[in-house]
């Protein structure tokens, strides 16, 4: 009898924990991620305005429980068709079409959110710590920030121009708007 009660209690506990979450969805039309690349001779930028993502917010602590972001390498646009085509070759876009970020570890520090997650790019997963500014509204949450990625860490061979390779660094800027979906 005690065992059964314990099991029921446990199941209720699991259900109640899940019920405390609210789902927030990335508003694709308002969100943007931009990379900046550098070469000895010039600099350039490319943006992706097709971001897909979900965040699960803990209704009690008002901190995220989970955050998942998905982007496709084909959706980056640097306003130069040759460069974009070349990027897709370098990034082996047919084999590794996605860029993913997933986190379950968040720490609210004043107006900023420290996010510890896993970045998956070019088929390789790396742990990444990102400090993001956060502005929370009733129906919208805005995440803004910058971070760096080192392409060679993801096994990407750097493209060269005039026999000189590009700098092994991508500066990433993002502005992500999450909109409340529904309470569960």
């Amino acid at each position: 009898m005690i065992k059964r009660k314990l099991l029921i209690f446990f199941l209720l506990l699991v259900c109640s924990i899940q019920a405390q979450e609210t789902t927030w969805i990335i508003n694709t039309s308002k969100s943007l991620i931009t990379y900046s690349g550098k070469h000895t001779l010039h600099e350039w930028e490319g943006s992706n305005q097709k971001l897909y993502g979900r965040a699960l917010l803990n209704n009690t602590s008002l901190v995220f429980n989970k955050l998942a972001i998905l982007a496709y390498v084909r959706d980056f646009d640097s306003k130069n068709s040759g460069r974009d085509a070349h990027s897709l070759e370098v990034l082996e876009a047919l084999s590794f079409p996605e860029i993913k970020f997933y986190s379950e570890s968040f720490e609210l520090i004043k107006d900023s959110l420290l996010i510890n997650g896993v970045f998956e790019f070019h088929g390789k997963k790396l742990n990444k710590q990102i400090m993001s500014s956060i502005v929370s509204g009733k129906n919208e949450i805005l995440l803004n920030g910058t971070f760096n990625l080192i392409p060679s860490d993801f096994g990407i061979s750097l493209p060269a121009f005039m026999l000189v390779k590009m700098k092994d660094l991508l500066e990433i800027r993002y502005s992500i708007v999450l909109a409340k979906e529904s309470s569960s």
Binding site: K3, R54, N80, G82, D84, P97
Partner: protein
């Protein structure tokens, strides 16, 4: 019982974490507009002839249109365009040298005629090899239409000019010295500019 519960909790937590992550990404993928096309909508006629959906490489089943095959085609393309780049620099050196030798000939220094002919032939071989590598390389994955002028568009426009100029220069080498000279200078000027404007 307690041991079983602890194990159960641990198992449930780990499996739900993994499955939740996959579930979330699965639902995101279903919402996404994914472009899975293997060939670009637009490509140069020489590329279409070889690598298009009904191109020779497909019809002869040398390179069937599959993801794996396109991935290796893109690697071939990258190598071809790298060689195109290097050959381009070598061609420019040849063109500049030829411009110098050619101007000596016009000033009456006919001792350099054979050298002019040799350098001219070598530069032409190098030029048309480089052009071939670009024209017959497998097409890129995408070829977006972008408004306004940018480096790649300028590179392509200038390529049309220097290609025509190079054909004219070679065709008129022994027929019309004046136009041969004008065509040669047009080729050098547009070729050098095409290299300068190009950014990757």
């Amino acid at each position: 019982m307690i041991r079983f519960l602890v194990f159960f909790v641990l198992f449930l937590t780990l499996s739900s974490t993994f499955s939740q992550e996959e579930d979330i990404f699965g639902s995101l993928r279903s919402e996404a507009e994914i472009d899975t096309s293997l060939l670009p909508d637009r490509m140069i006629f020489t590329q279409r002839l070889l690598w298009g959906e009904k191109g020779l490489m497909r019809k002869m089943k040398i390179s069937p249109l599959t993801i794996e095959q396109r991935e290796s085609e893109l690697k071939i393309r990258r190598k071809m365009l790298k060689i195109h780049q290097v050959i381009g620099y070598a061609t420019l050196v040849g063109m500049v040298a030829q411009g110098f030798i050619g101007s000596q000939l016009y000033n009456g220094n006919y001792k350099l005629y054979e050298t002019h002919k040799l350098v001219g032939n070598l530069t032409s071989i190098s030029y048309f090899t480089g052009a071939g590598l670009s024209l017959f390389a497998p097409p890129p994955l995408v070829n977006k239409k972008i408004k306004g002028l940018n480096s790649i568009k300028a590179h392509k426009y200038l390529a049309t000019i220097h290609f025509s100029a190079m054909v004219t220069t070679n065709f008129l080498a022994n027929k019309n010295k004046k136009i041969h000279r004008i065509a040669a200078y047009t080729a050098v000027g547009s070729f050098a500019t095409a290299i300068i404007v190009f950014k990757f």
